[in-house]
Point group: C2
Chain length 226, copies 2
């Protein structure tokens, strides 16, 4: 259960930019929420706040009942490393590491032998169709392949909360559907999913769609049969 | 007029990866071609070859009748700087430069006073909806805003050939349509456009769709009423 209460995030650049202007959103455990909105409307900023990568200027973010603002930097890092999986809009892969090594990075928070981690990376990469690209560095991969490595990495620590920022933006429809099927499995396993997408077709895989406009929550659209 | 004749591009990683396996494609002047295909099928590799950013291992690329392989490195750079506009799948913006400075980069190949270049950058950025983000550095911009800066930069030198690799991948439908309208204007002005996209809706703005599968040209689909 993740809750954002009236969060605000402002950037000061001469003029001030209100990236998020008072957004409240509740993510019940096991829920699957899509976020849509114009470019620049605050979607990634909201993801970063819920993913404990950034702190709001006003308002609070609670995860499992605890206010993230009360956690120390170390506690936040551990929370991220053990509970949260993040697929970044720009992937953020380590350029000098192979696909497999990138995927094992989050596992450093978990006890377990090296071999076990590599095996897990292999399983996850095969699951996203990259079983034959384990040893490729990011610059030896296509855009959509890098995106899939980023997705596999986000799943590595079996997160209770998955935050995916445009996870199919560089994928053809078929490959994208394979990823969405993986997300469906995650939800079936009780995980919570928040996914930003600009494709209606993709958003409709969720239980509901949150519409952001100019840093504000304009509408929460409940989807039929969900 | 750009012509790829039986181009092949192979990467050696222990096993060999045939990124492109004998692709021939002709882009008549003023044509608008979309490229679709599964993730990893060779789309960006094809773009890089046609954009003179890479050379084929076999086969030739001709621009305006001249084989690119015969050009010196300097001639290729000038050709790119003056004739070709490239929107990269990963944007490739200079992180330490503002949006406006990024857009003026290609103009270094053109004579003209500094002020003229900044004005041009401002015009282009306004055209893509970023008139109020001129002084933001890439990390002070949203994903779709960075994408739009990359698009504005590709248009800076009024290219005769525009190569756009997933130009709407990070844009909501409305903003994406604004970009596609800019591309329509370009074609009306006689420019040649090659655009990779995974969205059918976007591809249908072109005259025809080239389908790549596993490094090969599987089909060229002529679009109705085009
Ligand atoms: N430097 C490299 N070294 C090894 N393999 C590479 C390299 N660059 C690309 N490849 C491989 O070549 C193939 C084609 O890559 P390319 O980037 O052209 O695909 P793409 O169609 O653009 O994919 P996407 O839709 O995911 O962006 C991919 O399978 C990729 O793994
Ligand atoms: N570090 C920063 N400094 C200044 N402004 C910023 C910064 N980061 C983001 N912004 C601004 O905040 C607004 C919201 O950004 P955000 O990345 O959340 O948008 P988004 O909805 O994810 O957009 P997109 O769909 O284009 O990815 C944007 O207008 C952006 O310019
Ligand atoms: Mg974003
Ligand atoms: Mg590509």
């Amino acid at each position: 259960p993740v809750v954002a209460r009236d969060v605000r995030r402002t950037y000061y650049m001469g003029e001030s930019v209100d990236a998020l202007d008072g957004v409240s959103l509740s993510l019940p455990a096991g829920s699957y929420t899509a976020v849509m909105g114009p470019s620049g409307s605050g979607k990634s900023t909201l993801m970063n706040l819920l993913g404990c990568l950034d702190t709001p200027d006003e308002g609070t973010v609670e995860i499992g009942g605890r206010s993230v603002g009360d956690l120390s930097g170390g506690e936040r890092a551990r929370l991220r490393g053990t509970e949260i999986g993040f697929v970044f809009q720009t992937f953020n892969l380590m350029p000098r590491l192979t696909a497999a090594e990138n995927v094992t990075l989050p596992l450093v928070f978990h006890d377990g032998v090296e071999a076990g981690r590599h095996e897990r990376a292999e399983t996850l990469l095969s699951r996203v169709g990259l079983g034959d690209r384990l040893d490729h560095a990011p610059n030896e991969l296509s855009g959509g392949q890098r995106q899939r490595v980023a997705i596999a990495r986000a799943l590595a620590n079996e997160p209770t909360l998955l935050l995916a920022d445009e996870p199919t933006g560089n994928l053809d429809t078929e490959t994208g559907n394979e990823i969405l099927a993986v997300f469906d499995e995650l939800q079936a396993a009780g995980r919570t999913i928040l996914m930003v997408t600009h494709e209606r077709r993709v958003a409709e895989r969720a239980d509901r769609i949150v519409h952001l406009i100019d840093g504000e929550l304009a509408e929460i659209e409940q989807l039929e049969g969900k």
